[in-house]
Symmetry: C2
Subunit: 320 residues, 2 copies
């Protein structure tokens, strides 16, 4: 079985993991530990735990357990002192407190949820994302970065504070991988925070694995306004130090105009400006009807279809 | 296998269930739904769920899963908006919200925790305990009853508000039982609230099962001050309508004087004043050293030993 490592965090790689778990591959998700928004942010502040939110999403994506258990993990309390907390976050944080180790907690929840594959926090250091904009404004934490509408005006630096060393399990997974997958996902909030962890870039550079980047479908207004596929790649290369992407997967399907219109206030479609042989174009869009039924959030209407995405990735891995 | 039904709630029947689960018996815990204190009370008020606390304790008592999972269920968050909540309570409440049914939630958690036996809420109606004291003071809710130090001055009435009908699963368990076990536990807070649920007393009256009462070790000051074993039985008989106890299990071991002294402010030892043939006296005390290591709460230092208690109960059941 080919070893595939997916690097990300947030909802971005949910589709990748959910799709790939149905293929005969050895799957590992390396998850950013920079999240500090919502329920995760409250738990970090109040309990001093590591951020559970992105890990929870990866576990649900890889889970082979009942629909009920998956719903339970994502269930959010709607009132009182628990308001906004997702149950899965509470489970991870309680287990971290009981075992004294976030990694053990992730392992246990992985067992409870019968996941196919592994979920590995990129670091187990308590760290926060920080971004200094060109206009000298400092964005403290991933949540502020996520909400900023000024990043496309340029930034001077983005870094983790304090310094965070990579989890040796993450390094070893990269080292042993046949294929490493980046994206899709928030460039500054999900992808780059992984590259800022000390040791990850070196491991990627030395790894014999082929590297794939899955281009996002949509730009986020104020963040990656006007970005084309090459801009995403350049931005990642800035942090990796060199262009080590062997494949770039790009969607060539076009969403219905009505959806593009609805989405206009949040961002526009990412155009592909690369015509190199490493660029693989395919129809990757989720079925609108199905998605619309599931989820009425505007920004979720234009999404990757997990099966189509996984099919492209498996073809690459299978031919290695 | 003999069918044993244990009626109670709270920490009282933890020892009974924990002990009996290691015997070849078909075990069912019928649990009071009147709890409204602590984490349970907050969840009832804020989420509108049924009280999870007593059910959680019974599930942990019957659980055959790892020590880690048992610790997780009893883990209490210590700070922030989650302060005071036990994780198991949150699990039951989240599952009740996700499934729309407390009974389904209890069943699912029972599966997750690999319990030996069944846990059945005595009713699935939302109800509260109310007690009117002789001095006309009204105690609203089990928590107020539990904390009151005036109950031994006499009360006029104790009832559930609103009216609560018995869970048919509870009636059927009583109906099919070979042995029904009452106590040990809080007389007004754990035992009587079960008898106040409409249908339970009739079911007990009609059941062919033998009935056992396990006498408490200690009286609670202001609640059952000066009660002897016969007083406990009389109080229960008042609600059941007749004395249907076939056996009364009484401890004959004496705790070390130092412990009785430590405990003096909370209450005194229950004296046995019954010399009938249905009274079974046995050494039932927990080992002090072991208990003291586990738990330094004063009122937990004088406790039943679950193995000794289960051994007495099994002897009765096995001879039926």
């Amino acid at each position: 079985m080919k070893k595939i490592v997916v690097i990300g965090g947030g909802t971005g790689n949910f589709a990748v993991l959910e799709g790939l778990k149905n293929y005969p591959v050895d799957l590992t998700a390396i998850v950013s530990m920079a999240d500090d928004g919502g329920s995760t942010g409250v738990l970090r502040d109040e309990l001093g735990v590591l951020p559970p939110g992105d890990v929870r999403q990866c576990i649900v994506a890889l889970s082979d357990s009942s629909r009920l258990m998956r719903s339970l993990m994502n269930f959010r309390f709607e009132s009182g002192g628990l308001e906004g907390h997702s149950f899965g976050n509470l489970l991870l944080s309680a287990l971290e407190k009981v075992t004294g180790s976030f990694e053990l907690a992730v392992e246990e929840v992985g067992k409870i949820m019968a996941i196919k594959g592994n979920v590995i926090p990129v670091t187990t250091h308590h760290t926060r994302l920080r971004m200094v904009l060109k206009n000298k404004k400092i964005l403290e934490g991933e949540k502020e970065v996520y909400l900023s509408q000024e990043i496309d005006q340029g930034y001077e630096s983005i870094y983790l504070e304090p310094y965070a060393e990579a989890n040796t399990m993450a390094l070893s997974a990269i080292n042993n991988a046949d294929l490493v997958v980046f994206g899709p996902g928030g460039l500054h909030t999900s992808l780059i925070p992984n590259l800022l962890v000390d040791g990850i870039v070196d491991a990627l550079d030395q790894a014999r694995a082929k590297k794939v980047f899955i281009a996002n479908l949509m730009n986020r207004k104020g963040q990656t306004t006007g970005f084309k596929v090459s801009d995403y790649v350049s931005e990642l290369v800035k942090f990796i130090g060199k262009d080590l992407f062997d494949y770039i997967i790009v969607n060539k399907g076009k969403p219905p105009q009505e959806l593009i219109d609805i989405y206009k206030e949040e961002g526009e479609l990412v155009e592909n400006d690369l015509k190199e042989s490493r660029v693989l174009e395919a129809h990757l869009l989720g079925d609108l009807k199905e998605k619309a039924r599931k989820d009425l959030l505007k920004r979720n209407l234009i999404r990757h279809n997990s099966k189509k995405l996984a099919c492209e990735l498996f073809k690459i891995a299978d031919n290695l």
